[in-house]
Amino acid sequence: MRCGDFRQSYAEDMAIFDSPLPRWLLTALLAVLLVIPFFTGSYWLDVLNRIFIAIIAAMGLNIVTGFTGLISLGTAAFLAVGGYTTAALAGKAGLPFVVVIPISGALTAMVGLVFGIPSLRLKGLYLAVATLAAHYIVEFTASHWSSMTGGVNGISIPAAKAGPLVLSSDREVYLLILVIMVGMLFFAKNLFRTKVGKAFVAIRDQDISAEVMGVNVFRYKLLSFAVSSFYIGVAGSLLAYQARLISPENFPITLAIDYLGMVIIGGLGSILGAIFGAIFITLLPEMLRLGTDALGNTWPGLMVIVAPIKTGVFGLVVILFLIFEPDGMAARWNHVKAYWKLYPFSY
């Protein structure tokens, strides 16, 4: 059993996994994920797709809020920008998805840059409310720029295509989403091993000191918004390809609150946190539905209070997590891992 650290080179020090076991487990997990779509029904495939998209967007939000400390309520707005850009490029211009997805991400990054400008002057709650303004502005544009966005009726998106390859079934879209998600998570993990990532963390911890040490705070804050919005934009683009139909009602302010919940419950400032949070919050309504469906046969009046139960459980879960597990699920996971790693020596 391994105990403690023993590193002999810089490469070992910088490695993501410091022993072969996690690497093998990760490979096994990826293999399972690749094969799962051939065994699940279409509904659960849909759920998996939504989970992966949520992971990408939660990762984006984690970059700006968890790693850089800038509270952003604009997640729903950026998802909308990514989605509608995809609708325009794929639907009207008929471009292939290999082009559409990066461009959607880039456009959302630019929009994120614009809405990140207030971060120069605003801090904390004031910045959060400024990003709330971003949400309402984007919502207004989506509802009223009918020629581009289809207005309140929404707009449909054709199946993702690239040359002769057409991803028409949920299974094929799943593989696309899986590949992109793994790639982006890997990029994020590496981002925080570089100068840029460390500058983000420095800003979160103490931005005045960071400035004194030579970190150009404003530039990195904007970069943080840009990178985060890129992630969220890509997630929005994949959402468009998966749902094949978006409308302004898909992006209410409660969605931004959900994502904030994901990031906080999962654990701020950690990749694993984004993953856990996304899985948990996306599965919560599904579990509730299964529960109420099962009980619904014995208690028919349940159908009416399903919606409040969903909201209520979400609220309760958030509160309980914050009181009892303020560092999130990732922290708990790391505690458990550390416990097992050092077992039976717990100190």
């Binding site: 659960w44 009726n153 139909l245 009602e249």
Partner: protein
């Protein structure tokens, strides 16, 4: 621990779904999907509608079902959120394998149109949006009422008649007040065109934002433009807010309301502000003396004795009467599947719902159930019929 349990539960559920054998429909059961709004922004009319549907299904099952087969209504609340409607639709069609869907809102019905056409699932929507009546674009969509557009045309006819009768000179000045969504905007284009044709002036169009509590600025603008008649395309609870603000401002505007903004709740909510307000009622008020009302009232009193009967309940009930008849015909022809049910729907010609609504007619080229609209008015807190307009079945208006 709780997380572990949830995870275990999730894993079991995934396994169960994965290894669930694909079902061939049990012969004694016909699965019908229901997409209802019980807690969303249109819940004030959505809930009684859903109750009507549920009670009617139980009634049909008690009286022989569909040629002996029972209807299994698999319904859920989607809270008027389009993405939830999509997820629900996927579940109903792919996992539950329903043969017909009882849908609700305009936005989601129009959004699901491509999938409905692809999957060939007959979709009876509570939305009366005009494009849904064109089988060339929406072959599997039906609804049991005149469209919002036809209703507005009829109301504008009434406006002209009322204005002339009141001795008005020139053109009547009309305003449209509507919610910022697909349902709200549905009849506007048709309304503008028809107004121009019959000589009525649409001078103002006001948006009512979602969850609005105050309509004063919109009404002030209308007052400035000298509006005399206004048509409101939002649900009943919101119409009550507009009426209250209008009364407060002392506006002398004659208001008209759409089929989802005019039922027994309006005089209950708006009180004296509702007096004189007109509205479209494709389904009669609860308690009207027509043959179909007897069974309806008996069931309602038995199942929901403490709740007041409502025109939306009547609407839900009427829908079930229509599509259960369609299911019977499809079953008799041995074609209890998507295309078969569509064809059976199109055999309905002047089908009577026992007076609960106008007779229903569908043809393969025209899904307009009826072109006759009845206009009611609130008089002393009661809903009284004051006019009826039968529009011609012009092919040019199909889908508009």
């Amino acid at each position: 621990m709780a997380f572990k349990k949830t995870f275990l539960g999730a894993a079991l559920a995934v396994a169960a779904m994965a290894f669930h054998p694909s079902t061939t429909l049990a012969q004694a059961e016909i699965k019908v999907g229901g997409i209802f709004d019980l807690t969303g922004v249109t819940a004030d009319v959505g809930k009684p509608y859903a109750q009507g549907v549920q009670d009617a299904v139980a009634f049909v099952n008690e009286h022989g079902g569909i040629n002996g087969k029972m209807i299994k209504l698999i319904g859920a609340d989607y809270a008027y959120k389009i993405d939830q409607a999509r997820a629900l639709y996927k579940r109903l069609v792919n996992d539950e394998k329903v043969v017909l869907i009882q849908g609700w809102g305009s936005g989601d019905t129009e959004a699901l149109k491509d999938f409905v056409g692809q999957d060939k699932i007959p979709y009876y929507s509570a939305s009366f949006s005009a494009p849904l009546t064109d089988p060339a674009k929406f072959p599997y969509n039906f609804f049991v009422a005149p469209s919002y557009s036809d209703g507005l045309r009829s109301w504008l006819n009434w406006v002209k008649a009322d204005y002339t009768k009141g001795g008005g000179k020139g053109k009547a000045k009309v305003a449209f007040m509507f919610g910022d969504n697909a349902y709200g905007k549905s009849p506007l284009a048709a309304g503008r065109k028809w107004a121009a044709e019959i000589g009525v002036d649409v001078v103002d169009e006001a948006v009512l934002p979602p969850n609005f509590q105050d309509a004063t600025s919109q009404l002030l603008t209308m007052k400035q433009k000298g509006v005399e008649y206004a048509y409101i395309q939002v649900t009943t609870a919101n119409v009550a807010i507009v009426l209250r603000d209008a009364q407060k401002l002392g506006l002398k505007v004659k208001f008209g309301s759409n089929p989802y903004g005019f039922d027994e709740n309006l005089p209950a909510l708006a009180g004296p502000n509702a007096e004189g307000v007109t509205g479209l009622m494709p389904h009669v008020p609860y308690g009207t003396a027509v043959p179909g009302m007897k069974d309806l009232m008996a069931t309602h009193d038995k199942v929901r004795p403490t709740e007041k009967g409502n025109a939306m309940y009547v609407r839900g009930w009427t829908y079930v009467m229509v599509w259960s008849e369609v299911l019977k015909r499809a079953d008799k022809a041995g074609q209890l599947n998507g295309p078969g049910i569509k064809a059976a729907s199109e055999t309905l010609k002047d089908f009577s719902t026992g007076g609960l609504s106008q007779p229903v007619t569908y043809t393969p080229t025209d899904h307009r159930a009826s072109l006759t609209s009845e206009i009611f008015q609130v008089q002393s807190g009661k809903l009284v019929k004051i006019a009826e307009y039968a529009l011609p079945r012009t092919p040019e208006w199909l889908g508009l």
